[in-house]
Amino acid sequence: MNSLTAIGAILLLALLAGHLVKAMRVPEVTGYILAGVAVGPFGLGLVSHENVVSLSVFSEVALGLILFSIGSVFDLSRFREFGSHVLSVTFIESALAGGLVTAGMLVSGQRWQVAFLLGAIAIETAAASTLMVIRECDAAGPLTDTLTGIIAVNNILTLIAFSLVATSIDLHAAAGGVGGWSAAYRAIFPLIWQLAGSVALGFLVGLLLASWASHVTEHGELLILLAGCVLLCVGVASLLDLSPLVASLAVGATMVNLSGKSRGLFGALTRTDPPLYAIFFVIAGADLDLKLLGSLGVLGTIYVIGRASGKLVGARLGAVRSGATSEVRRFLGPAMLAQAGLAIGLIITTRERFPDLAPTITAVVLGAVTVFELIGPLATRMALTRSGEASARTDPAAAPG
């Protein structure tokens, strides 16, 4: 199948799967992912590995746009209201999820490097699937606001934690060998560069977007401008070894703070981007190998249980501590179980920086991502529905009659 046929088939299939799962009160995202699993190289093989690779550019664009949308939570005027609350919940749930996974790995006899890298990756909550479920449910309310804020902070925190662990491993290795300052420099530089450089790039692109947007009136032109800026940002970030994720977040954050047009822009984006996201999730599903579930093993089980309990307990503790409403306390944990994009990105980074540690980490995380990508969106939808924040349109339980 060539790429165009694959895109066409994927879009129609996603639509069909979305309709089917809706009837079962399952999020569309799960439907897309399951459709991907079914037709992907590990399923029926209708969409080949080659197609998946050639369509990965869509994934990058979609992920950039998703993070751009999430960046809008850093609207300073609003963030002041709930910022400290979001920060404290994120720190607690991240520390608990990462800490439990790390401790479990250490107890099971893994090297400290493997344990801490897995702990850092376990922090991540999937931005894309969580945001898509929020959008599909048309959810609004304190839980939704907290959740969106947490996703943004959580992804940055994951990156910081991972970079810190990676730097420590490099420094530890440098301490035992030759290289001295040069090795230390090589170890520390990526940590600072990935954060400061990515924010700087995102800010500059955001500035460009905000200044230009004030001169653009047509909806179509606005979309062209936005797509251009996000693509530019992701492309330059890749070129300079920066984090496309943090940079895209920074574009969104800059835009929302500098431009009065940002609300309209984010709204326009919501109406235009569904096909891109459908492709994104079907491809994500096509990459999942359900057979990995069978080979999850002891380490995979420790990771899944450690991360899930860390998220559930940590979110609740954090919410109680910050005086959140009872709905937020009860449902925040389940809403943030999904894990995907950044975790897989970090596996690739691990493979590049620590090839000797990569096999264990890859096996554990890919198996766990399969679990969390299937149950995560379901849990998020359940949380939004039961907290009463999903709109009546998408919530059959709340529908009249």
Partner: protein, 380 residues
């Protein structure tokens, strides 16, 4: 722009951001270039490794089918049938230190059962391979029962072979008396060892390659076709990306300079063929045709290979032009291309076809230094 921040403040911030970017880009430590794109969010890593393992398993399994255990009427294994015409009997002859002798396939029924020690404690292994000289040299090897202490990098301790084998045996497949593929011959610190198959696959998938186990060979790889009907071409090495070999894997050569060839002597004739030689061949489903070997034919350095079990799947790269797209993608001579755009490369012809089909393809390459790489190649 409607903003609570004043313009001067924004300009300072923008300047600082620009400064950070420029300084960072300049001060970035030059790391070894990785050809795996960082932004690749697919599970390429996992998939490519699994595919390579599958390629290897399939590759060896295909060759293992050539062998069958010869059972006595009692059901006891008596030897290994190595081809349609030959067998190795597992019986002591007294004349050699090896309790094996080559017999004709027709004699296989006369093979007597092997004495008890043959199967204990580690058992005997047969490493079978024709020698590079083209003689029908099936080499039985005796496994000492000890494991090698010198191959420290390997997870599974390889079994020590009692005598050091010539280098030409590196990469040969070893079969046990039940006809199962037991491992691959490797040379390690002056020792000859049998590396178990699990370890071979692990080495490949973990991208650690001790020299010797995975020995890429030069030239063509050919086997005698059944029934004296010619020589089957299995692999052809490409020496230059611009070169189109005249022979392709899958071709069957039936004559050299109009003389019919077959068997071992045919392989030797083919290997010795100089540029200008007329070769008659036919490909599957096509009529017989004649070609004249050009100067660039891949036969120049051909080693008469017979049944070669040591080669890796994929196609080896003979030469990379400096400054070319291939060089920029990180490819080097000696690397093996295993997959192009997700499809296994089974022959040089399939490599050409896959490369020519599109402007930009992703290759999975088993690098000369043992790393498993993914490279994006753009046709120019």
């Amino acid at each position: 722009m409607e903003t609570p921040l004043n313009r001067r403040y924004l300009a300072v911030l923008a300047g600082a951001a620009l400064l950070i970017l420029i300084a960072g880009a300049l001060l970035r430590p030059r790391t070894t270039t990785s050809v795996l794109p960082r932004t690749e969010l697919v599970q390429l890593d996992q998939m490519s490794r699994r595919r390579v393992a599958e390629d290897f398993a399939a590759y060896f399994a295909e060759r293992a089918r050539l062998f069958a255990v010869h059972l006595l009427p009692s059901g006891a294994p008596a030897g290994v049938i190595v081809s349609e015409t030959e067998a190795i009997a597992a019986e002591p002859t007294g004349a050699t230190p090896w309790p094996f002798r080559r017999v004709a396939r027709s004699e296989a029924d006369s093979i007597r059962p092997a004495p008890e020690p043959i199967r204990a404690p580690t058992g005997w292994l047969l490493a079978v391979r024709r020698t590079p000289a083209g003689n029908a040299g099936w080499a039985p090897v005796l496994v000492s029962g000890r494991t090698s202490a010198n191959c420290g990098a390997w997870q599974t301790r390889p079994l020590l072979v009692s005598e050091r084998l010539p280098a030409a045996f590196a990469g040969a497949a070893a079969f046990d008396l039940d006809g199962r593929l037991a491992g691959v011959v490797a040379l390690c610190s002056n020792e000859s060892v049998i590396v178990p198959m699990d370890e071979v696959v692990r080495l490949v998938t973990a991208a650690e390659s001790p020299a010797g186990v995975l020995l890429a060979r030069a030239g063509i790889v050919a086997v005698a076709a059944p029934g004296d009907s010619g020589i089957d071409i299995r692999q052809v090495r490409i020496r230059s990306p611009a070169e189109r070999p005249d022979l392709y894997p899958g071709d069957r050569v039936t004559a050299v300079n109009a003389e019919r060839i077959s068997g071992d002597s045919g392989i030797a004739r083919l290997a010795a063929a100089a540029p200008g030689t007329t070769i008659t061949l036919h490909s599957a489903g096509a009529a017989e045709r004649t070609i004249v070997l050009g100067n660039t034919a891949a036969l120049g350095k051909a080693a008469p290979a017979g049944l070669v079990l040591g080669d890796l799947p994929g196609v080896s790269i003979g030469h990379v032009d400096s400054g070319s797209a291939a060089a920029r993608a990180g490819l080097r001579a000696g690397d093996r291309v295993l997959r192009v755009g997700g499809r296994p490369v089974t022959s040089s012809r399939s490599l050409y076809q896959l490369l020519a089909a599109r402007d930009s393809v992703k290759l999975i390459v088993y690098a000369r230094d043992g790393a498993l790489l993914s490279a994006q190649l753009r046709n120019e």
